[in-house]
Amino acid sequence: MFTPQIAESAASGILWLIPALPIVASGIIALFKQPMRKLSATLAIGSLSCSLLLSLFAFGHVLVGWDRGSAVRETVNFTWIQVGTAHVDLGWILDPLAAVMLVMVTFVGLLIFIYSIGYMAHDENYTRFFCFLSLFAGAMLGVVIANSLLLLFMCWELVGLTSYLLIGFWYQKPSASAAAKKAFLTTRIGDVFFLLGMVWLFAQTGTLLFYNAGMGSMEALKLGGLLATPSGLGLTAAGAIGLLIFAGAAGKSGQIPLHVWLPDAMEGPTPVSALIHAATMVAAGVYLIARVYPLMQAGAQVGGTTVALTVVTWIGATTAVFAALIAVAQNDIKRILAYSTVSQLGYMMAGLGMGGVAVGMFHLITHAFFKALLFMGAGSVIHGCHEEQDIRHMGGLKVEMLGTFIPYAIGMLALCGFPLFFSGFWSKDGILEAAQHWSVAKTPLYMLVFGALLTAFYMTRQVSYVFFGNWRGHGEPHESPSVMLMPLAILAFFAIFLGAIGTPAWPWFRAFLEGHTARFDLAGFGEPGLPALMATSSVVVLLGLVVAWWIYGNKPTRVEDPDALERAFPTIFTLLEGKFYIDELYGVTVIAFYAWWARVADWLDRRVWGGIVAGIAWLFREGAQLSRLFDLNWVDGGFDKGCEELANSGGLMSRIESGRVQMYLRLLALAVVLLTAILIWSSRG
């Protein structure tokens, strides 16, 4: 471990520009008129490419620092609110974690932007789309560079808002708006816990900055304080806060039990699904955990773990298997991907929980690339099949859509973790290895391996449904424009070679994140248990592939005949197809509960409060009646009399008021005469 260098530099100085540019761009685009399509797209993409360049610059800066052998950690903090002595600080940070994340988000985001040009070409709300899109990108980048939990939370909420807007982009579709609401509310549940955790953290440490020259909440001093203070259930404050924050993260990155929104979110446009629900936003949860990792890890003995991390691990592992199971029985091309995303997120969480930041983040990065690839490929497929999403109405597309098929196949293999050649393999392998060495229990290992099997299975199923067999759709499928294929190609490249930076032989990524040198030696493979593990996972993956191919592979089917598995075990299949009926479960429990409460409150309003209000109103009406009578008979009567009198007296005066100017003048002159006369007379006398 090197000593962290706090010094500021140009890189961290201009860091804030990275999120600022897209946000400003979106603000400007918001002012554009509908028909200004090209301009808005240009603006959005231009701003994001600037951010990309800046991010690369920052990354390079960190890289150089790392090469010189110092873990770069530069923070720029400033006081936002000052209340007496207490003050809330905001700030941004540049360290390997942030740098890597920045590059990933801007790069993938940029590709997705470019892809959207083709995908949204026929949409009349083109400009609005790009406005939201770049706002989202800005918010996400804000999350990445935040050095203050508060700033992170702000951007976090902004991300939530934009995802709401984007999921409900086709708000005329009731399902879309419903999905948007669902996503918003579900993530909100997590965010409430997050907020609680944040407040608690502030109450305990008095600062929300992560790193602040030793005074940050993620630094030894404060952490020690947190560990010292106990809280309920035998947790330290650190553990409790960690769990609360994890709840928020779970909400964002769809961990059980808050995963329900993610599959429905596929109602949004496919680029959105790629951007939000594969690459960036769902990763935000993982990133958050990675960011507060010191907190989660606080108090762990060497090789040991903490309650928080254990919880994270278990939930992650469960999610991984659970979602993978559901994915097996889905027929919507995007839903399958969605559930696979959920399960991969589970992997990441588990990786974080067991293996530390590097493992989880590595899978996050690789996954971001190949999952974005898959989603965009799916989008291109949907595009080509005339907005058809049901895989049973596709088939045999490898001929018509070769340009889509090849990258898609690569992405699929990467996701399955096909041995040695694909990034997915290495990252997943890292997680498995971590699970293998986990001190608490071995169960997660088995769960994850099973998950890997399932992953291979459902991906193969999907691919063979979509690209092999015979064409079961309507109309003729067609290839997508090159502006959509080009990003696929680029992503495919990375889906293959990105794994190279994280092999056991050359664990550069981990070294980079954790700030120690990495050197290349094949001995890395020689670690105890590693070869066996690699072998197992490869076998498992191949098994899944083969089985799935054997079941579904390349045999002509018709739309109406049931799924092979369904024929085999109907009950299980329907259970899976119904997603374990989680939604329905919530429907009859939570939502029903709320509905009941709502009815109660409604009854109270109508009967009790309403009655009281009505009674008071009645009283006032009666009082008003009384005063009215009083007015009519007494006040008005008197007033009328007075007016009559006035009118009569005025009648007298109006004799003089002849309306003749000269009359008035005359009176005036007379008055002058008289007054003067009197004056003089009196003065003489």
């Binding site: 005066m653 109006s654 008021e657 002849s658 100017v661 003048l665």
Partner: protein, 107 residues
């Protein structure tokens, strides 16, 4: 060649006469504009008084009467402008400047 003890009296009397004439004009003529003319006459008479007193009373260097007269000239100009504007607009509405017919304000 004067029957007065002091020349000031002459000025005052002339001013008084002018004032009376103006008043008479304002009171006896039918035409609104001529009433305004009469008023102008009265104002000028007052000015004559002011100047005369300034000239004959002690401490003329204080310039009180003079300045007063200058101000009253300015004010008179404003008064004339507004008054004539009113007459014109009245004429536009009632098509007359005859005061005997302008008694719409009769109470």
């Amino acid at each position: 060649m004067t029957g007065f003890a002091t020349p000031l009296t002459g000025y005052l009397l002339v001013a008084a006469l002018l004032f009376a004439i103006g008043l008479a004009g304002a009171l006896t003529r039918r035409n609104a504009i001529l009433v305004l003319i009469g008023i102008e006459l009265m104002l000028n008479a007052a000015n004559l008084n002011l100047i005369a007193f300034w000239r004959y009373l002690p401490h003329p260097e204080a310039l009180t009467g003079m300045i007063f007269a200058i101000f009253s000239i300015a004010v008179a100009a404003a008064e004339a402008a507004v008054g004539l504007g009113l007459v014109i607009s009245i004429h536009r509405h009632a098509h007359t400047t005859d005061l005997d017919e302008m008694n719409r304000m009769k109470g």
